[in-house]
């Protein structure tokens, strides 16, 4: 994902591999789900695969809070507040777990934007991006 044949593919692959595979405080599957959720819609309207964060494991308050945080980091990280982090910490997420989730979300969001930008340069169309939808509507926040 992200610049597969590009000049920086090897660097990107190492970066993604570290974030997804390095030993950490969260399961690799969770980090992958966070990254994919933050990546957003794929170019060429590839159907979005359901991730643990948006599928079966969802429903508990904790999962929803984490998913909301991931979306915030991905769409408008400047809106993250001390209270957001404090609430997640109270819910039992350690600093290291939140560090890993935050980095996974930021990396996913960055790769998604890069991929959609490259697709646009190739003249391919992309599905609408949630960010532009929220900017126009302004009601989601």
């Amino acid at each position: 994902m992200g610049d597969p044949g590009g000049r920086y593919a090897a660097y990107t692959a190492r970066l993604v591999d570290g974030v997804l595979s390095a030993r950490g405080h969260t399961p690799s599957a969770l980090r992958r789900a966070v990254l994919e959720r933050a990546f957003g819609p794929h170019p060429l309207s590839k159907p979005v695969t359901s991730s643990p964060l948006s599928g079966t494991e969802r429903g508990t308050g904790g999962e929803d809070a984490l998913a909301a945080y991931v979306d915030k980091v991905a769409r408008h990280a400047y809106k993250v507040t001390d209270d957001d982090l404090a609430a997640l910490q109270r819910a039992g997420h350690s600093d290291d777990a939140l560090f890993e989730v935050t980095v996974s979300a930021a990396l996913g969001a960055a790769l998604g934007r890069l991929e959609r930008g490259m697709a646009a340069l190739r003249g391919e169309s992309s599905p609408p991006v949630p960010l532009s939808a929220t900017r126009r509507g302004g009601t989601r926040d």
Partner: protein
């Protein structure tokens, strides 16, 4: 810095680097540096290599132009560059 671990709990080699940066620069170490030096095998090391290649490696764009792109992007993201 909102995560205390990323503020304070670096491992020894990274803590020494942070101290060195603080002493040499005479300033508070920027949060982005603390983030990159926190558990570098997870994210920071590969991110620095990626950034170095993109921002300083061979390219039809000059270093100044690339920095300008980054500053402009940060501005759009409402992120201090």
């Amino acid at each position: 810095m909102r995560l205390r671990a990323v503020e304070h709990r670096h491992r020894l080699p990274q803590r020494l680097k942070l101290t060195l940066i603080r002493v040499v620069s005479g300033r508070r170490v920027p949060d982005v540096v603390k983030t990159l030096l926190y558990r570098p095998e997870f994210f920071g090391r590969a991110m620095c290599e990626w950034t170095q290649a993109v921002m300083r490696g061979p390219s039809p764009w000059s270093v100044g132009e690339r920095e300008l792109f980054a500053a402009f992007t940060s501005r759009l993201n409402q992120c201090v560059f």
